[in-house]
């Protein structure tokens, strides 16, 4: 395997992302270039125009909120005007606009509109670069995870993001399935597994039926606006009110810098309280004192008990959502074989206790909840790259993520191809008319899990007309769904007696046209090439500078000899050493700008030394010739 090109698994999260691989048969998380295992899924253009990704983007997310895009996952593959986008527009500080076709969503950052897959691509490209730095070689293939409830459009948009980032997305797999894979479930066991995923911004509960390498996500539930950030906000509110009480009503929320520090500190202390009973928050010079007074400090102790008190209702909400999901799926807690914890928030002892109390069993804790999804994706990527020969790992099949069907009378949804059907596949159902002499029928192709058509995603529609006059229920209309291996859905409707037929082809789309996708990919490629050429230019300058330094150093003895005979330029060698030190420092720091600036000084020093060394040798030769 080590000879093969490396493959990676990526957990592209709403709040944080993680990249992992399998090395020497062991799955492991790849740290980013700053040494951290988690990379915030945040992209920003700073006020000075610099593009920031990950931790740096997060650290200015409040002070530069309008140009910082977070939680792009909530928007990916969504249509403009959908309920999810309208909800997001109410709470997001950055601007969302309709795409050029009017049906997809764009986000405006520093005055430039970006397609949502483009934002996700920037995060994926960062993770890819981290993996490349770690492997020391190019990485081109990845398995990427998505929530189980993502429809084809959202999955396609995630794939497009991968393409823009220069990755071949080998497979898109469900996050709960990935978590189960990381625990090695599915090899010799048949049981129901609940995945309790409390991340930074969302809460998902999934019930999986696992058996003989089949991972069936039988039910999903959750709250897309409940996560670790809500816990942070409770701590921030507590700090803000305490501070106002102690400092004559000064409201920290009015100061973006103070708020940014408050949030960073609240998150940090919350994480610390998972392992220690108490922590202190110390923020010196947090906010101006007003009326020319000195800046004020914040000093506060936060105990685990207090945190639990502040966030009790949030934990209760998680359990209520879990209970509802199980009830809807008609699954009793006693039927659950394992509970897997996913997401950083599940490290909170109070959350773990609530889960244990609810299910009446200890949840699985063997794999770090922040890493478990990425590790599963890495295992799947490894299995796909190794092929069936190794045969030791579970190879997931490409399946339909949600039910596919049409709208029937009463506004209901009739499934034609069920969820988790292996593709390619073809299914036919018979339908009939609802009115006497009905001349035509409207076929609305939908995807989703709801019995109500309106709650599902409309993929396309067409009219089949020319139906022969007949009493209602006497006409047979055959509706056929074909899904190709590429995920292209063909739907046809045929009047069985007359042979009159209409059809439609539906391709999962991210909202980007192929032309647009290519243009964006070209732009990103140009950016990459520009980065590489800057690196090449630096290497060239470094070589030139080092060559000049070697030449100067070789001239030093001759120059010193010349200077001993002169009243001037006694400090020339010292100055030259200063210039050379500056150049070396720029090389060590890989600072191309400073190196370029120092080049002229280095050249001047070299010319000066050549001149001095030449002058030093001339009188000697003149004296010799004079003899």
């Amino acid at each position: 395997m080590s000879d093969l090109e490396p493959v990676i698994g990526i957990d592209l999260g709403t709040t944080n992302s993680v990249v992992a691989t399998v090395q020497g048969g062991v799955p492991r998380v790849i740290p980013n270039r700053s040494g951290q295992l988690l990379t915030p899924s945040i992209v920003a253009v700073a006020k000075n125009g610099k593009k920031l990704v990950g931790h740096l983007a997060k650290r200015q997310a409040i002070t530069n909120a309008e140009n910082t895009v977070f939680a792009a996952k909530r928007l990916i593959g969504r249509r403009w005007g959908s309920k999810e986008i309208e909800d997001a527009r109410r709470v997001l500080p950055y601007e969302l606009v309709a795409g050029p076709e009017g049906n997809d969503v764009r986000v405006t950052v520093a005055g430039r509109p970006y397609a949502i897959p483009e934002i996700s691509a920037i995060v994926l490209a960062e993770l890819r670069a981290d993996a490349e730095a770690w492997f020391g070689r190019s990485v081109r293939r990845a398995v990427v995870t998505v929530p189980a409830y993502f429809n084809d459009g959202q999955r396609q948009a995630t794939k497009d993001a991968g393409r823009i980032a220069g990755l071949e997305v080998m497979r898109i797999i469900n996050e709960p399935t990935s978590a189960a894979l990381a625990y090695g479930f599915g090899k010799q066991m048949e049981k129901k597994v609940v995945v309790f995923d409390l991340g930074g911004g969302t809460f998902d509960v999934s019930i999986l039926d696992i058996g003989k390498s089949v991972y069936d996500v039988v039910a999903v539930g959750g709250d897309t606006y409940l996560g670790g950030e809500d816990f942070d906000r409770r701590v921030m509110d507590w700090l803000t009110f305490s501070f106002a009480k102690e400092n004559g009503g000064i409201d920290l929320r009015q100061d973006k810098m103070a708020l940014q520090r408050l949030r960073d500190s609240a998150e940090k202390s919350k994480c610390e309280l998972s392992s220690v009973p108490s922590t202190s928050l110390h923020l010196p010079f947090l906010v101006g004192g007003g009326d020319g007074k000195s800046a004020l400090h914040l000093d506060k102790q936060l105990s685990r008990e207090k945190l639990e008190e502040l966030t009790k209702d949030l934990v209760d909400r998680c359990i209520a959502v879990t209970e509802k999901t199980l009830r809807d799926a008609a699954v009793r807690t006693s039927q659950v074989g394992e509970v897997i914890l996913v997401g950083g928030m599940t490290r909170m002892p109070r959350v773990q206790k609530a889960v244990k109390d609810f299910f009446g069993r200890e949840p699985c804790k063997g794999v770090h909840p922040d890493e478990v999804v990425a590790l599963g994706a890495a295992i799947q990527a490894h299995a796909l790259a190794a092929g069936p020969k190794e045969g030791t790992e579970v190879l997931l099949l490409d399946v339909t993520p949600q039910n596919l069907g049409i709208m029937v009378v009463g506004g209901y949804f009739q499934t034609v191809i069920g969820r988790n059907t292996t593709v390619p596949t073809s299914q036919t159902h018979l339908f009939t008319t609802v009115q006497d002499n009905q001349p035509s029928v409207r076929i609305a192709v939908l995807q989703g899990e709801s019995d109500k058509a309106i709650e599902n995603e409309l993929l396309g529609e067409f009219i089949l007309d020319g139906i022969r006059p007949a009493r209602r229920g006497e006409v047979s209309i055959e509706v056929t769904f074909d899904i190709s291996a590429d995920g292209i859905v063909g739907v046809s409707a045929k009047d069985v007696e007359t042979g009159q037929q209409q059809s439609i082809t539906v391709t999962a789309t991210s909202g980007l046209t192929e032309d647009e996708l290519r243009r964006i990919m070209d732009e990103h490629l140009d950016e990459l090439l520009e980065k590489k050429s800057t690196t090449g230019e630096f290497d060239l300058r470094r070589e030139r500078a080092m060559s000049a330094i070697r030449e100067i150093e070789s001239l030093v003895p001759a120059v010193q000899a010349a200077l001993e005979r002169s009243k001037f330029g006694k400090d020339a060698v010292q100055k030259a050493e200063g210039v050379m030190a500056r150049v070396r420092q720029a090389i060590d720091a890989r600072d191309g700008k400073v190196l370029a600036e120092a080049e002229a000084d280095l050249d001047r020093t070299l010319q000066l030394f050549k001149g001095l060394a030449g002058a030093g040798s001339r009188p000697t030769s003149a004296a010799t010739s004079g003899r």
């Binding site: 002070t63 520090r261 923020l283 010079f285 004020l296 400073v594």
Partner: protein, 264 residues
Amino acid sequence: MNVANLAELLDHGIKAYLQGRVAEARTVFERVLATDPSNQKARSYLILMHGGSVSGPGRPVAAPPQAAAAAPPRAGGAPPGGAEEFAPSPWDDGPASAGTFVLDAGGGLDLTAVAEKSDLRPLVPEAPHVAGQAPAAKSDVQVWLQAARELHALGDFSGSLELIEKILQIDPEHREAREYLTQNEATLIAMYESKLGPLTSVPRLAIKPEEVMWLNLDHRSGFLLAQIDGAVDYDALFALSGLPRLDTARILAHLIAEGVITSQ
């Protein structure tokens, strides 16, 4: 005298100077210097009033110091320390590391290099000015502009910038003020950044974390200091700060000068 009183006194002196009450202003600035000998602003204004030249080694002069040359010899007692010690600029200490400018054969700064580095260009010619004359007939804008020109010529770019900002509050389109704004800012940024060393170097706290609260900082410095974690470089700090580049550079240079942070 506490800091607030000192600032008040300084403000009083500036107002007196701008309104032409030069003798009163001089007394006030001398009182400021007696309390705080390192007060750069008071020194700069005293130089203005005394017409002192600051074109010695190590002092950048953006335009020929016509005003200083045209000024009459200093009357009365010289301010403490003499003109040569006035208006210390950030150049005085020399770059903190990796100086960007080449010293010429005779020592001192290569002013051409400074000009290139800071995008400094020749200014519009200065109007002749005789120190001590009351600009009573001029509008506030004219007085401030004249003072800004002189401070600029003396190398007090911060003082000049402060006045230019006052002018632009009244007349945002003032052409000459805008030129001075650009030049002052570019020069100051270059000066402060030269203290930081390469922008790819990583600053670290040079004092114990528990000592931070004993410093005298404002909340913006506090914010920037909180971002210094031994992992982010200066380039990233400029992006993170959300402050204008000049303010960020000034705060960082100040933190280095005070020994609060150090570069690696």
